[in-house]
């Protein structure tokens, strides 16, 4: 089979199962722990297949090569594995969004209430920015929840795209609105500074997760 592009040619003396698992690992991109679990299961399956062939009287070296051939070429089976890695990354990002956006919304509302009081006067622009931030966070949290449900079915590519877009747009709108409110609103002193630091840390974690999800898009097959 070597050289026909169907299986990865093992180096002379190299174990075909190890070579095939390594080639599969190199073809996959995604969360490390999930990838390790997928590869461990693939290796187990290959070892089981080789053992079954040996039990049927096939020579050990031949059994390992045949197990690899029966497993299928990396280019043919990798898409299925990559879908699961994309789904795992998408789930992480959507979970972070579903928790972080409503939590930030609630925290900032409490913070503003504490600073300015519930009946504090505000300018129309400040009120608009406040409502914009609230609505954006709420919708983003709900869309992230919907994405988690949608992930249970089929290819994760469309969900991955939606989560990536949401993960870019929502922080842009929220940070813009927050900056405007910081300029227009009452000054909250240390409490606000702490709020900005926590928000920035959450957004950095979110952006990193979204960037990973975006990289998954390039490696995931179209629908």
């Amino acid at each position: 089979m070597a050289g026909d592009g169907l299986t990865v040619p093992a180096r002379p003396g190299a174990d075909p199962i190890e070579a095939h698992v390594r080639a599969l690992r190199d073809a996959l991109h995604g969360p490390r722990r999930v990838r390790a679990s997928l590869l461990a299961e693939a290796r187990d399956g290959l070892e089981d297949a080789a053992q079954a062939l040996c039990d049927d009287g096939v020579d050990a070296a031949e059994a390992r090569s045949r197990a690899v051939a029966e497993f299928g070429p990396v280019r043919e089976v990798a898409d299925g594995y990559q879908d699961e890695l994309a789904a795992a990354q998408c789930r992480r990002t959507a979970t972070l969004m579903a928790v972080a956006f409503p939590a930030l919304l609630l925290s900032w509302n409490l913070l503003w209430s504490a600073v300015s009081g519930p009946a504090a006067p505000s300018t129309p622009t400040f009120s608009f920015l406040s409502r914009l931030e609230d609505a954006t966070s709420l919708v983003a949290g709900l869309v992230a929840l919907a994405a988690l449900v949608a992930l249970r079915r089929g290819s994760p590519r469309r969900v991955l795209f939606a989560v990536t877009a949401l993960g870019v747009l929502t922080p842009v709108v929220c940070v813009g609105a927050a900056l405007g409110m910081a300029v227009l609103g009452p000054h909250g002193g240390d409490a606000h500074v702490a709020g900005y630091v926590v928000t920035a840390a959450v957004l950095v974690a979110l952006v990193r997760s979204v960037a990973r999800a975006h990289r998954m898009l390039a490696h995931t097959r179209p629908l």
């Binding site: 599969l24 679990s37 187990d44 399956g45 299928g72 043919e76 699961e84």
Partner: protein, 107 residues
């Protein structure tokens, strides 16, 4: 055949939990060796079915080795019943068309 892989996997797990390679062996045995798909496509299909909530998978020690074992969930049983219903309906339609029977009288 690949379009029906999910249903076939659910069917072989109906009788009890199995690990990945045992599922492949069961598929081959129940198909009389006619099911000839790359075994490497079965493992991600198992994870996909787990993601859909039709299977529950967990690592456990089987035969002295760590293996990922899968069992059918309640949702998986419902999905299997639905797939069986759809397949029987499809089979009846194809039988009627390919069977070459006379056209039903109209009017």
């Amino acid at each position: 055949m690949r379009g029906h892989l999910d249903g076939l996997i659910l069917a072989v797990l109906e009788s009890g939990p199995l690990h990945g390679y045992a599922i492949i062996e069961a598929l081959q045995a129940r198909s009389g060796g006619a099911l000839d798909l790359p075994t490497g496509t079965v493992y991600p299909a198992l994870r996909r079915l787990e993601r859909a909530g039709h299977l529950a998978g967990a690592w456990s020690t089987v035969g002295g080795r760590e293996r990922r074992t899968y069992r059918l969930t309640r949702a998986g049983k419902h999905a299997l019943a639905a797939q069986r219903g759809e397949w029987e309906e499809f089979r009846d339609v194809v039988n009627r068309v390919l069977g070459g029977g006379s056209w039903p009288a109209t009017g």
